[in-house]
Symmetry: C2
Subunit: 304 residues, 2 copies
């Protein structure tokens, strides 16, 4: 099983508490790291979780509220002090570059790498990034300011080779990658050994959806249908629904309703308001609707 983990760096909402850091996560897909949101303190949690700064590849910012992106200048400054040389790519809204550049130009003037701001339209559901192993799509959400969630989708993987078969047919190493990718093996005697005999099927590609911050918004349901893991904000409980509606946030029950309607495999709640000393109240409310629910917590690593 190849690694596809979500590391929770922070899952609090805008006000700091003693329990939670501000929003930030790091996806580890086969040892490449992709960050989602970067609230203040993200670099501290990054270090605390013993993640490797050199492996940060791309950063995806959901929206331009401070608790989701004010950790960027400090993180970039630290990457500079660590001697990073490979460019850093930030997928973010069009406004962001002009907002952050004066600060970066002052505090990060001695970088050996370039910070690229890639603007995307949070109001569209589209492919915003793709590499050899991954596609990332934006998911338009419903918040006070333009906001997008992200769908991280693994590309189809190659089949698992069956070692005993390789030994038995004395297949040269040079041909193994082709067989993994679907080829048959033709022996020196001309015998065709079919791919299916030499391999076990590939693991199905996994999908992870991040939906924060957002009010209850049914339009996302088809976009996250059947994902292996959904992180959905649950800032409030149902009793505080009026406050949730006013501020364009969700209750835990609403997060669970979305998870249920989208047939996701597992729901993780986050973006907790500081007002609930015991977040089990959120968990119980969501589990009453959708049992495969857990609470996010700092320094938690979830397998997708």
């Amino acid at each position: 099983m190849e690694r596809f983990d979500v590391n929770i760096l922070g899952c609090g909402s805008a006000l700091p508490t003693t329990r939670h850091f501000l929003s930030s996560q790091v996806i580890n897909l086969r040892e490449k790291l992709y960050m989602i949101d970067c609230g203040e303190g993200a670099q501290l949690q990054f270090r605390a979780m013993k993640l490797n700064f050199n492996r940060i590849n791309r950063i995806f910012i959901s929206h331009l509220h401070g608790d989701h992106c004010l950790g960027l200048p400090g993180l970039i400054s630290t990457l500079g002090l660590l001697g990073r040389t490979s460019d850093l790519h930030i997928h973010i809204q069009p406004d962001a570059e002009k907002i952050f550049q004066p600060l970066l130009q002052y505090f990060c003037k001695e970088l050996f790498f370039t910070v690229f701001f890639h603007a995307f339209d949070p109001q569209k559901n589209e492919l915003i990034f793709e590499d050899r192993s991954l596609r990332v799509y934006s998911i338009p959400l419903k918040h006070r300011v333009p906001t997008a969630g992200f769908l991280f989708e693994e590309k189809p993987k190659s089949a698992h080779i069956i070692r005993e078969m390789i030994d038995f047919y004395q297949i040269p190493i040079s041909q193994i990658q082709a067989i993994k990718n679907g080829a048959d093996f033709i022996s020196p005697e001309g015998e065709i050994i079919p791919h299916s005999l030499l391999t076990r099927p590939a693991d199905p590609p996994k999908r992870y959806a991040y939906c924060s911050d957002t009010a209850y918004y049914e339009k996302i349901i088809p976009l996250i249908e059947g994902v292996d893991l959904l992180y959905h904000e649950a800032t409030f409980i149902e009793k505080d629904l009026q406050r949730a509606t006013e501020t364009y946030h969700s209750s835990a029950r609403q997060a669970a309703l979305i998870a249920q309607a989208a047939h996701v495999k597992k729901l993780v709640l986050g973006h907790f308001s500081a007002r609930y000393p015991d977040e089990n109240i959120l968990l119980e409310e969501a589990q009453a609707v959708f049992s495969h629910t857990i609470l996010a917590n700092e320094r938690m690593t979830l397998q997708v």
Copy 2:
């Protein structure tokens, strides 16, 4: 004894570690809070130390390196969310306003208070702020960029009234403040009861000096002569003096030499490099020169 405390929010140097936050302190002088430096995460530590956000009065920034000021936007944003209405005053270098304003204008647009940037010249030793109970002076330091430390000096305090004397002479409440401030009491019969008989002397005014970041710099010695508490950076040990000199930082021994020469009452070391897993090596090096030395640590509160 009236309160004059230093709360250590962070005492690490530029790179985050699992042990230390970035530079930030909060002075509590008679329940008014004055912040010195505001590295990323300062607002998180502020909350963790159960300090009251409403009582932040002024912020003093030593220099424009990210680890000393990148916590400002997040802190200001949080003060806004908490409904602050009283203005916030930041004493900082002239460049700062134009660097921070684009970010503040975007992320902190709905504030009910104004953020004032008060520029001061870090190359001068001068009074930069004064209120009823306090004077703050800049202390020019020697660093890679213009940098100033700060001397916090209590104003002379009024004498302590001796309750038994008040009762004995039946002194009306209306006259007590005048007596505290130095007046004699004249009884209805015309008898003069001298101030010295009615009071115990005032506590001597206390002084606290913050010197970070700086290379070894003897010019500060007369400016911090005899302070009750000195926070001096000790990024390195003597063995790494070359690195200290290159980066305009101090060794623990150098901090102790300054403390000794300035006859300070107590030295607290901070701004620790990430390279020393056990900081007792810094403490021992300093104590060999100046025994009244301690190590700073997060969430520590020191009485001046």
